[in-house]
């Protein structure tokens, strides 16, 4: 009965040299083991073909012990937040799942969704932000394009291509008009104006981390903002589409 543990040790070259030599001698006279070693070597070679994708990770810690006061720009421009929510809902649902962001007096914390139970309010908050936001935006854009493609295929209401970085004011207004119903014309006008304001601010804000945008979005969810029903419906629609990938 051939020793499989020895065979495995031999295969992975983790045998002390005496054992290795002994197994070499065994192989000389055992065709079964020879064949098996050959086969498993082949399998190991095949395994080398499986490479993970190459995402742009770029994690780094940007804050540690000092509490982070929430960025002023979203505190004082709720309009920005509302409009941003309309546009970036798609980014959130499509590109980033299971991210939970908490903003409070103790600072800003970014967490993955399943870590909810491990909340530790007394700990120093940590903000983990991604690196090159350009690449991050490109990722988001790619996801949005993908979503858009699927929607067109399903004959969903046509939407202006959602490229956050390339939308003109006219495009944005057109987009809003397409998605908000007639009964909300008044809100529509307000929303359009707010989004135009966003567009001007966005040039700077666009450079910020996706994480900070998530903070704004999540914070809005916790406030009493009357997000228009249609925008919410849009959000739900995209969530469903996003989850059906």
């Amino acid at each position: 009965m051939c020793d499989k543990e020895l065979l495995l040790g031999y295969l992975y070259d983790e045998l002390p040299s005496s054992d290795r030599q002994a197994f070499d001698r065994h192989l000389a006279s055992c065709a079964d083991c020879r064949e098996e070693v050959d086969h498993l070597r082949g399998t190991r070679t095949h395994l080398m073909s499986w490479a993970p994708p190459e995402p742009d990770l770029g994690f780094h810690v940007v804050r540690s012990a000092t509490p982070v006061p929430p960025a002023r720009w979203w505190r004082t421009s709720p309009a920005w937040g509302l409009a941003a929510a309309a546009l970036l809902t798609l980014a959130v649902s499509a590109a980033i799942a299971n991210v939970e962001v908490r903003a409070g007096s103790d600072g800003v914390v970014v967490r993955t969704g399943w870590n909810r139970d491990a909340a530790a309010p007394r700990e120093a908050p940590v903000v983990l932000s991604t690196g090159a936001s350009d690449v991050e935006l490109k990722r988001v854009e790619a996801r949005l394009k993908d979503l858009e493609g699927r929607l067109v295929a399903r004959q969903a209401p046509t939407l202006v291509p959602l490229s956050v970085s390339r939308m003109s004011d006219a495009d944005i207004v057109r987009f809003v008009r397409q998605t908000v119903s007639d009964s909300e014309q008044r809100q529509q006008g307000v929303l359009a104006r707010q989004i135009l304001q966003v567009n001007r601010d966005t040039e700077t804000a666009r450079r910020a981390d996706i994480d900070r945008l998530l903070v704004a979005y999540r914070e809005l969810q916790g406030t009493n903002f009357q997000t228009s029903r249609s925008v919410k419906a849009l959000e739900d629609h995209f969530m469903r589409v996003g989850l059906q990938r």
Partner: protein, 205 residues
């Protein structure tokens, strides 16, 4: 270049930049581990990010009994385990949309022909599918051995199981993989001769 131990010591002393260097050094292996165990890109990214978050917070309690990388791996594997349990399903492999020859042509490096690249991508997909079919423990053991070069003992320590168990899992896992890959080989050879490539599907087990 500073060792992990030095960087850890500095990080514990409050040097954030040293910690960021550790992150830079280990983010890719951690992501790769999570990706292969879970089989999903986004979730793997989340797990990797969460690993470093937790490591940063728990640095005070890390006294260097184990290697820093082992400590990270342990956090990652626990997170993966939690995710799998939570999602209550076996990990699926996200199959890419399809073989894009134009894209591949762009990727061609050196003397690899398009055929060879196509085969390698197919093989990669076949491996991913086969790995997804393995029980969690076998898959994890193989990932740690094949892609992270841990010794049998290191794997045993990481997974808190006996040495012989590690070897058994590896042996059984490899044997099953071999069978699956042989099957995949046969199927793709048949498909090729019929003039169609394997359809790429989302493999849910």
């Amino acid at each position: 270049m500073m060792s992990d131990e030095e960087l850890v010591a500095r990080s514990r002393g409050g040097d954030q930049d040293s910690f960021n260097q550790l992150v830079l050094r280990w983010e890719r292996p951690i992501y790769a581990l999570a990706y292969r165990v879970i089989g999903r890109e986004e979730e793997a990214r989340d797990v990797a990010q969460e690993t470093f978050l937790r490591a940063f917070r728990a640095l005070g309690g890390f006294k260097g009994q184990a290697k820093f990388s082992s400590w990270l791996y342990r956090i990652t594997l626990n997170l993966c385990r939690d995710w799998i349990r939570r999602e209550r399903r076996t990990p699926i492999v996200q199959a890419p949309e399809g073989v894009d020859l134009v894209e591949l042509a762009g990727e061609a490096v050196g003397t690899e022909s398009i055929d060879e690249l196509v085969s390698r991508k197919e093989l990669g997909r076949a491996v991913a599918k086969a790995m997804a079919l393995l029980p969690d423990e076998q898959r994890t053991a193989i990932i740690l051995k094949e892609y992270h070069g841990l010794t049998f003992q290191e794997i045993a320590d990481l997974l808190d199981c006996p040495l012989s168990t590690v070897k058994t899992r590896l042996y059984q896992g490899l044997t099953v993989l071999r069978r699956h890959l042989q099957q995949a080989d046969v199927e793709s050879a048949r498909a090729r001769s019929a003039g169609t490539l394997d359809p790429v599907i989302d493999t849910r087990v």
